[in-house]
């Protein structure tokens, strides 16, 4: 997600820390969303057993790979559009 953070030249210590913090927050938020989405898609909510079975384990691994791939695609797409528009707001707000 680094394209979000590469823009402005950084000056003060506080700004540098704030940027690092924002980057960590973003990664941690992504992890939480991934857990939410992949649990829902891969784990049978009847909980017949306490262990992950083979199917669930494989599904979780692939789910992470696909989630990252979607993240990359979305990021590429938005970068491309940001470059086209140059400086215009991307959203309605």
């Amino acid at each position: 997600m680094s394209f979000l953070f590469g823009g402005r030249p950084q000056v003060s210590s506080e700004q540098k820390i704030a940027q690092a913090e924002a980057e960590i927050d973003m990664v941690s938020d992504m992890y939480n969303r991934l857990v939410q989405s992949c649990s829902k898609k891969c784990i049978d909510s009847a909980y017949r057993e306490a262990d992950l079975n083979k199917g669930e384990s494989v599904c979780l691994d692939r789910c992470v790979a696909k989630f990252f791939e979607v993240n990359v695609k979305v990021s590429e797409k938005m970068q491309g559009e940001a470059q086209q528009k140059q400086g215009g707001g991307m959203f309605g707000m």
Partner: protein, 90 residues
């Protein structure tokens, strides 16, 4: 926001800039999660199928257009409401 001095407005402005960054990151993450949830439903392999990939691309396009449109309407309604004197009771 009425009744703030210039100095107070500047302080508010600077806090708003931090918020905007957060808001943007949140919208980005929402977009990734929503398009993943809606488009990716098979886990036979660890790469996106071409069908899933093009669904994701259209999803991003459509969701961004939708946010834009909703944002425009939202601002119109907000402006109209401010002219009527805000929500009843202000």
């Amino acid at each position: 926001m009425d009744g703030l001095t210039a100095g107070e407005q500047r302080e508010l402005q600077s806090r708003m800039e931090k918020k905007q960054m957060k808001e943007f990151m949140n919208m980005y993450s929402n977009l990734v999660q929503k398009c993943f949830n809606d488009c990716v439903n098979s886990f036979e392999s660890k790469s996106l199928t071409s069908r899933e990939e093009s669904c994701v691309m259209r999803c991003v396009d459509k969701q961004m257009k939708s946010s834009q449109r909703l944002g425009d309407r939202f601002q119109e309604q907000n402006a109209a409401m401010a002219q009527q004197g805000g929500l009843p009771g202000r």
